[in-house]
C-alpha cells in the first residue's frame, strides 16, 4: 500500500531568514510523500523566492493574516492529511512519520497532537519580551526518551501547532477563523473537539518552537481576550448540544 500524501502548509510573512531552515526540516522528513505549500502572506523580503528555490509550491496573497494564509493552504492541499508549520519553527525528522502512522492505525481519530520544545534562537540576542527566569518556570511534561531542557530551552509543552489532521476534518468544521489575531490554533482545536472529532496527543516532541524578538505570539502572552472569547464560543456550542 502506498504511503499517504501529507500536505504541509507554511504561512509566511517577511521571514525569509527563518523560512529556509523551516522548509529544510519538512523536506528531511522520513515520511514521504509530502506536498509542501508555502503561502506568502504579502511578504516584501523575498520569502516567496526562498520557498520557490527549495521547490515548494507557492501561493501568493495580499497580507490577510496567518489564518487566511493557512486556509489558502488548506484549500490548495490535495493530501490525505494536512499539517502546519510556522515559518520560524522546525520539525524533528520523524515528526510526520510518527503522527501519520498513528492516524493510519486508528481510523477513528480525526487528528493528533504532540508536544513542543521551545528554544531561544541561538543566533540572535535573547528576546527583549522574555522575562528573566521565565523559561525555568514553564509547566513541562515528562516524556519518555526526552532529555530535560538545556539552557535557553523549555518544554516539552503541549502545543496546538503540532496538529496533523485528516483533510476531511476541514471539510466538516471549516478552517482557521481569521477574526482571531491570537490563539487561532486553539480556537480550531476547540471547535473540532466540540464537533465531536476524536483525537489523541502523542507523547513525543513534534515541534521545535523558536523564541526570537519578532515572535507573533510570545508564549506567555497568548492573547487572553481572544482566549476568553474562543472559550465562550465553545461554552455556547456545548450548551446547544445538551
Amino acid at each position: 500500500m502506498n504511503a499517504p500524501l501529507v500536505s504541509v502548509v507554511i504561512p509566511v510573512h517577511d521571514r525569509a531568514h527563518y523560512l529556509g531552515p523551516a522548509i529544510d526540516s519538512v523536506q528531511s522528513q522520513t515520511h514521504k510523500p509530502v506536498e509542501l505549500i508555502v503561502v506568502d502572506d504579502g511578504s516584501s523580503d523575498g520569502s516567496a523566492q526562498v520557498a520557490e528555490e527549495r521547490g515548494a509550491r507557492v501561493i501568493r496573497q495580499c497580507q490577510r493574516g496567518v489564518s487566511a494564509a493557512r486556509n489558502a493552504g488548506i484549500e490548495a492541499a490535495t493530501g490525505d492529511y494536512i499539517a502546519f508549520l510556522d515559518s520560524d519553527d522546525l520539525w524533528p525528522e520523524d515528526r510526520l512519520a510518527r503522527q501519520v502512522v498513528h492516524l493510519e492505525r486508528h481510523p477513528e481519530l480525526e487528528f493528533v497532537l504532540a508536544y513542543a520544545m521551545m528554544f531561544v534562537d541561538p543566533d540572535s540576542p535573547t528576546p527583549s519580551w522574555l522575562p528573566t527566569g521565565w523559561l525555568a518556570g514553564v509547566h513541562t511534561v515528562d516524556l519518555p526518551g526526552v532529555q530535560p531542557p538545556g539552557p535557553g530551552q523549555a518544554g516539552p509543552v503541549a502545543a496546538g501547532m503540532t496538529l496533523v489532521a485528516r483533510a476531511r476534518l476541514f471539510e466538516r468544521i471549516g478552517g482557521y477563523d481569521p477574526s482571531y489575531t491570537t490563539g487561532q490554533d486553539i480556537e480550531l482545536l476547540t471547535r473540532a473537539a466540540d464537533a465531536g472529532a476524536a483525537y489523541e496527543r502523542l507523547p513525543f516532541v513534534a515541534l521545535n518552537y523558536r523564541l526570537h524578538e519578532t515572535n507573533s505570539s510570545p508564549p506567555m502572552n497568548q492573547g487572553m481576550p481572544d482566549m476568553l472569547r474562543l472559550l465562550r464560543a465553545s461554552v455556547i456550542r456545548r450548551r446547544a448540544l445538551r
Binding site: 514553564v138 472559550l231 465553545s234
Partner: protein
C-alpha cells in the same frame, strides 16, 4: 469559609460579557462559566465585598429575602474557593465601591466547569498574572 475572599491573583484570566463571566484556570486548564447571579457575585468579590455584604447587596437588588439569597451565595463562594478561583484574603480588602449591574430577575449563582479542553489550554501555565503583558510584535 473565611468571610473575605479575593479573586485569585495568578494563573487566572477572566472576563464578563453579556452578564456571563468566563474564567480560565491556567494551571489546571479548566475553564468556567458563571451564570445567574454568578457574574454579580464575581464583580462584588472583585470590589472587596465580604460574603455577607454580597448577600445583602443581592437581596436588595433583586427584592429577595436575605435568608433565600445568603445560602446560595455561601455555597457558590465555597465552590469558587474549592476550584481555586478565589483565595482567602488575610485582611478585608478595601472596598472599591459597588460595581454597576443591570437589573435582572433573580437566578441563583451557578458555576459551570468545563474540563474537556485541558489538553489544549495547559500550554505554558507558568505564573501568568491576571494582567496580560504588553503585546509584542
Amino acid at each position: 469559609m473565611r468571610d473575605h475572599l479575593a479573586i485569585k491573583s495568578q494563573n487566572l484570566v477572566h472576563d464578563t460579557v453579556d452578564g456571563e463571566t468566563i474564567l480560565i484556570h491556567l494551571e489546571k486548564g479548566n475553564y468556567y462559566s458563571l451564570t445567574g447571579a454568578g457574574a454579580e457575585v464575581w464583580a462584588l468579590v472583585g470590589a472587596g465585598k465580604s460574603s455577607e455584604q454580597i448577600a445583602v447587596e443581592l437581596a436588595e437588588r433583586h427584592g429577595r429575602p436575605l435568608e433565600d439569597v445568603a445560602p446560595a451565595v455561601t455555597t457558590f463562594l465555597h465552590e469558587l474557593l474549592e476550584e481555586d478561583l478565589l483565595e482567602p484574603s488575610v485582611t478585608a480588602a478595601a472596598s472599591n465601591g459597588t460595581p454597576a449591574w443591570r437589573a435582572s430577575s433573580w437566578r441563583p449563582p451557578k458555576l459551570e466547569k468545563f474540563t474537556e479542553m485541558q489538553d489544549f489550554l495547559m500550554l505554558y501555565g507558568s505564573s501568568v498574572r491576571q494582567e496580560p503583558l504588553a503585546p509584542v510584535g
